[in-house]
């Protein structure tokens, strides 16, 4: 009880300090584009990168290296989930019989599953044109697989194929970076032509990278789900 109240008081003090500092010194919604690097992104982004979606321009082109790192973080985290679950072992007994999903759900999943995959692919293929990108598209693809798992109790992904896909697309990303280094002397340099902004085939290396990220994220999140589902069986 005492511990809890001390913690609460500390949190309250911290909250007040942070709140007032932020409210006084970092006014919300101020126009600060002139002070930092953001004006370059905003005013030259489309010309520099050829991507009409500026968020993508920053995420994949200006700061593409961070994105390579984030993809690695997700990759490592997916492996880590596998490691923890592998060591936790299988809790013995208590194997509940799974109820088969009804006919309606099964039929619906047959029709909806490809549509969901298509939607995910749409999001990451159009990442440089419209809101969205590899991470979002990948998450949608993983949701599609989650749906498949729910609707069909016997469904399983093929681990080897998923691992192979994952590593091939991951290597694609790294290779694009290394190719940039070999061709121009800068890692992850945009060595393809920018094209005209707004078209599907534009923005240089961004579509390649986003397709790779989308597939990779989808495969990894599905892998996490699969690990969670399978630990008991």
């Amino acid at each position: 009880m005492i511990k809890k109240s001390i913690a609460l008081i500390l949190i309250a003090i911290l909250f007040v300090a942070i709140f007032f500092t932020l409210a006084n010194d970092l006014p919300f919604g101020d126009n600060r584009t002139t002070t930092g690097v953001s004006d370059k992104y905003i005013y030259h982004g489309v010309n520099d990168t050829g991507a009409s979606n500026l968020v993508t321009a920053i995420v994949v082109n200006y700061r593409g290296f961070d994105t390579l790192g984030e993809v690695t973080v997700l990759f490592v985290a997916a492996t880590g989930v596998g490691a923890v679950l592998y060591n936790m072992g299988r809790p013995a007994g208590k194997k509940r019989k799974k109820t088969e999903a009804s006919l309606i759900v099964r039929t619906g999943s047959r029709i909806l599953f490809p549509m969901m995959l298509l939607f995910g692919a749409y999001i990451f293929v159009h990442g440089h044109l419209t809101p969205g990108g590899g991470f979002q598209g990948g998450a949608v693809i993983a949701t599609a697989f989650l749906f498949k798992y729910v609707s069909d109790t016997r469904y399983h992904i093929d681990h080897n194929k998923f691992t192979a896909t994952e590593s091939v697309v991951g290597m694609t990303f790294a290779l694009v970076g290394i190719m940039g280094l070999l061709l121009t002397g800068y890692f992850l340099f945009n060595f393809l032509p920018n094209g005209s902004p707004g078209e599907l085939l534009s923005a240089g290396i961004i579509p390649i990278i986003y397709v790779a990220i989308g597939i990779k994220v989808g495969a990894e999140l599905t892998g996490i789900l699969d690990n969670m589902m399978e630990v008991e069986q």
Binding site: V55, P131, Q136, A139, V140, T143, M228
Partner: protein, 82 residues
């Protein structure tokens, strides 16, 4: 003005859900609480003109991670002990 009030209400709701999901002993309800937080956050991102982030938050925060939590709770225990 209306937008500001709406945002304020959303933030307030978010805080309520967050506190609820920390405090409740039923982990399934806590997961629902975090899902609600994610949903509100994604609406807020949309209002603040970051649709990319809003999509990611909706798909990952409210979709996948909720599923992962629910599966984890199903495999372990539903109620928290002291």
């Amino acid at each position: 003005m209306i937008l500001t009030i709406a945002v304020a209400i959303l933030i307030l709701m978010m805080m309520v859900f967050a506190v609820y999901s920390v405090e409740t002993k039923d982990l399934l309800y806590a997961v629902v609480g975090t899902m609600a937080v994610s949903l509100i956050v994604s609406i807020l991102f949309y209002v603040l003109q970051a649709p990319d982030v809003a999509m990611a938050e909706a798909a990952i925060g409210a979709g996948i991670s909720t599923a992962v939590f629910v599966i984890a709770i199903k495999k372990t225990e539903r109620y928290e002990h002291d």
